[in-house]
Amino acid sequence: MQHLDDALIAEWVDGGIAEDSPRHGAIAAHVDQCDECRIRVEEERALAGHVRQLLGVAIPPDHTPPFEEILHRAGPAPKRATGRSLPLVWRRLAVAATVVVAGGVGWYARGLVMERSAVPAGAAVMADAVGETGGTGRMGGTEGTGGAGERDALAAPPLESTVGKRLEVATAEAAGRGAAAAEEQAAAVGDTVRREAVAERPVVDEIVAVRRDAAPPAAPAVAQPSPMARAVAPAENEARMQKVAAEPWGTTTRPAAERALGRSLLLVPELRVVSIEMTADSGMVRVRQDLGGGAVLELLESRASDREREELGRVSGLVAAEPRAGNAEASAAATVEAVTVDGIRVIGRGAIPADSLRVLMQKLR
């Protein structure tokens, strides 16, 4: 037998040759007989041992979290990674529902988590306010002075933030400080109420919608497309949304979605996350949170550039309005509304059912 080459010696040392193979016996016999090869085998073995020793210096703490953590992180009912593609008819229906309702509701959640007004009110105020809007609880949105920087700052707060913390982050950022400073300030101040309102320009590529995925008979009506909603949903945005909605959505994880977006997901605290999905092409992320009673809060986010966001905000055609503290108020143009509940000023657009809104507000308090 010829001398062993380097590859064979390495494989021999690494145990890469099955013991029950004919090669194993032949090599073992040769190494026994050939001093040169035996020495090389020993050298390679010593080298491998030395490398193991070197690499052994660079080891992280030995910690294996329970497998349940992985399951928890994966979310409910992991699915096959093949992108889900609904039949065309259902996709079109989904598009219609999403476009009309989501386009109308618009910047709802952003308003929810970032503003508090100067006049605290009780929970009853919320119920009254919803009643005054004809039971549909339509919420209004304002076009404020907030620029792209403020919107980016909103993406920065930690997912675990309380409403108060989000408020503090947003306001600190609006004052020109960095996100890190804002978080520090938020931690220091805690859950105190900051009175300055932060206006936010509605951006329709990041949309919150409330709709019914399943329709239990006893549940209240949810998010019917209203003339108001249609009025504020420009054709450009509809086309964009239709294009996005036509893409296949695949289930993903929160870290993966955040990585794709390049920022934290906006989630309503304490609302159970039903699903996180993402499109393969456009990188849109869709998060659904359970509002109870069959209603689902749906948030769409994309990695839009600041310029694109500005453009989308501009073409949405909303009339700027500064809501007053109190119950539901309509703007002069009747396209924006605001409600104050327990000092939290809710600004958004479109239709949302009263009971779902109440659940949402309870979670946010």
Binding site: D6, A7, L8, I9, A10, E11, D14, G16, E44, L47, A48, H50, V51, R52, L54, L55, V57, A58, I59, P60, P61, D62, H63, T64, P65, F67, E69, I70, L71, H72, R73, A74, P78, K79, R80, A81, P158, L159, E160, T251, T253, R254, P255, A256, E258, R259, G262, S264
Partner: protein
Amino acid sequence: MPTDWAAVYRATFPDLVRFLYRKVWEADRAEDLAQEAFVRALPHDPENPRAFVFTVAANLARDEARTAIRRRKHLELVKAEQPQATAESPADDLERREQERMVQAALSRLSERDREALLLWDAGLDYDEIAAQTGLARSAIGTTLSRARRRLVEAHRALEGTDAAPG
């Protein structure tokens, strides 16, 4: 028969974290990526689950390095449950860090292919798995590993000499 991911997880997770740690050099990040690799692997039913999850993890680490994304730790619960670092004396800790820094520097002197093969080998993957992961021919793995081991030791010795040299 569907993959028993729980068993794969228990048998593979420490090796996977070690493998990733030597790529990102951050313990929390390595563990986070390892968890994410399993999360992504769960819906699949591969022939070789261990090799599959290493492939996913390597891709994650590669993406991470490419985009240089640093994000917050995802699972606060896990963080809270993590054991405290072992009580090392400051001198021991300093020496360990210095040794690790030298290993990191020595690894960085290898070619990407050699380094990948070496780290996979150290993580316990066999030649077939390393070949599948790196795209190398099965017959080239032995040569690659032998060369990588030799170069790592040489690089480490050179670094030791540099550090020991006066001035």
